[in-house]
Amino acid sequence: MEKLNKGMLFRIWDADISYSLRQSPVAIVSLLVFLLLVLAALFAPFIAPYTPFDPASLVLMDGFTPPGEAGFGSGSVYVLGTDDQGRDIFSAILYGMRLSLFIGLMAVLLAAFIGISLGLIAGYFGGWVDAVIMRIADVQLTFPSILVAMLIFGVARGLTPPDIRDQMAIWVLILSIGLSDWVQFARTVRSSAMVEAKKEYIQAARMIGRKRRVILLRHLLPNVMSPVLVIGTISLALAIILEATLSFLGVGAPPTKPSLGTLIRIGQDYLFSGEWWILLFPSLTLLLLALSVNLLGDWMRDVLNPKLR
């Protein structure tokens, strides 16, 4: 067993993609920053000094404490300061990042699932099936994703009873971001599927009478997946930003469970009255997160592009 692991680790290290990674300082830095942020978010319950989402633990008198100073009320030190409610900014950022990442990831998975399925079907069957799916995609693309997301959010909101709205907010967000983003997955998978469907190994499978479901899932799907990783990564960056935007606009994560976007919204109100830290630190975190994912995605696209090899 040990020999196998050593062999595998070596193979991963030696693989072309790892080699390219080692050649690109930008990629290395982005990857490290991203991993750091993800780990911080993952271990938030262990790292965060305070629990910002528990209203009972907040000390109102500690509100507006500047970074590094002690609060008026409790005397405890807040590394990055507190907001108007006495929430520790550092802890809020950690938990907020957790939320943003979770929503972003789930939304991308949803978008990928919808997009890959529709793209496969459109590419393989062609004809009117393809035409219908692509027209739906075209129509959706004419709307900015924010509007689509807001629309879905509004509809979902209207359908849920008010008492569980806050709890449902996260799932509604995932649904709305995911539904607004499936098109690029569909388009790329569709063009790959169209190319692969004409190849002779597909004909060989059809010839022996294999069912369509088998051909789509076992023959076609593995061969259209390569661009998906790149699109997924860039989609993640976009999803994070979209979620932050929605939360900033007030139609996303609620103040009781704030994501980075919500924190920015709160901070914005107090910028000009001097409490700059409430806005600055969440914004910086969002910037780092989105930028590192985006750069990673860009690098991956260049590296995995077979034409550039």
Partner: protein
Amino acid sequence: MSDVLVKIAGLTRHFDVSKPLLNRVLQREGRKILTAVEDVNFEIERGSTYALVGESGSGKSTIAKMLVGLVQPTSGSVLIDDVNLASASDESAAKLRQRIQMIFQDPFASLNPRWRVREIVGEPYAAFNKVSTAEISLRVDELLEKVGMSSRDAMKYPHEFSGGQRQRIGIARALSSDPEFIVCDEPTSALDVSVQAQVLNLMRDLQSSLGLTYLFITHDLAVVRYMADQVGVLYLGRLVEHASRVALFQNPKHPYTKMLLDSAPRLDGFDRVHESNGGEIPDPINRPVGCHFHPRCEHATLQCKSTSPPFKRDGSSVYACYLD
């Protein structure tokens, strides 16, 4: 005397290549029909090799696809052991599919790049028989040995092999369901000469040891001479000549066959002067009226330009030409 396995009668296939309705209305164009295959008739005897020769636009690939059920004929029939694949019930169709297989031209596109060789070669066997994984594995090993490869190759991926080896894997796959009839669509056109020799020899050996029947599609007359018992020559969808191998090469009847034989470069053709037969294959959508070959034929008469010539028989040769 003869035991006919495959019988093609009146096989025809049209493709509608018209522009979409709106375009046609705006540009005032009619429908465009491409006749890829027109009224093709021939028979293949059990255990023999029938070579179908043609250049681009001849319809040979379409015929291949109709024979294995990938494309439906517009009219005419394909009978394999007196069973019509197109109109058979689901059950007979499945049984029939097991007896037919295909070997493809492109060694790079004919194997699923994400599957291991074992899965690729075992797929037809597993699809037609209820067998366990171990049994599939055994069968795959057996097949790989038969085509001159080793059982160690079963767990590799296609990209680890050369073009010739991939073609062998394709042959192993074709043998997997124990078929009787194999359609070979230009199986060696993409291979180097020395590798082609290996694959052709392998196919001949397999034919004699397993009693296979081949339909061998190619544009290379030299390969035809090596592999075929009977030969059919296609031009723009029509079978213009059909003869035994010996008769075709020694005494070609149709002017197109003669032109093909003359054009084929020969290993002993030093300083050979070709008969300058000008012209190229016309667009298959706008085939010449009458005998399709008449624009390129130096003996063309008025009759050739107006009506399609009927078939004539001379010994074992059947050909469509007004000339004697």
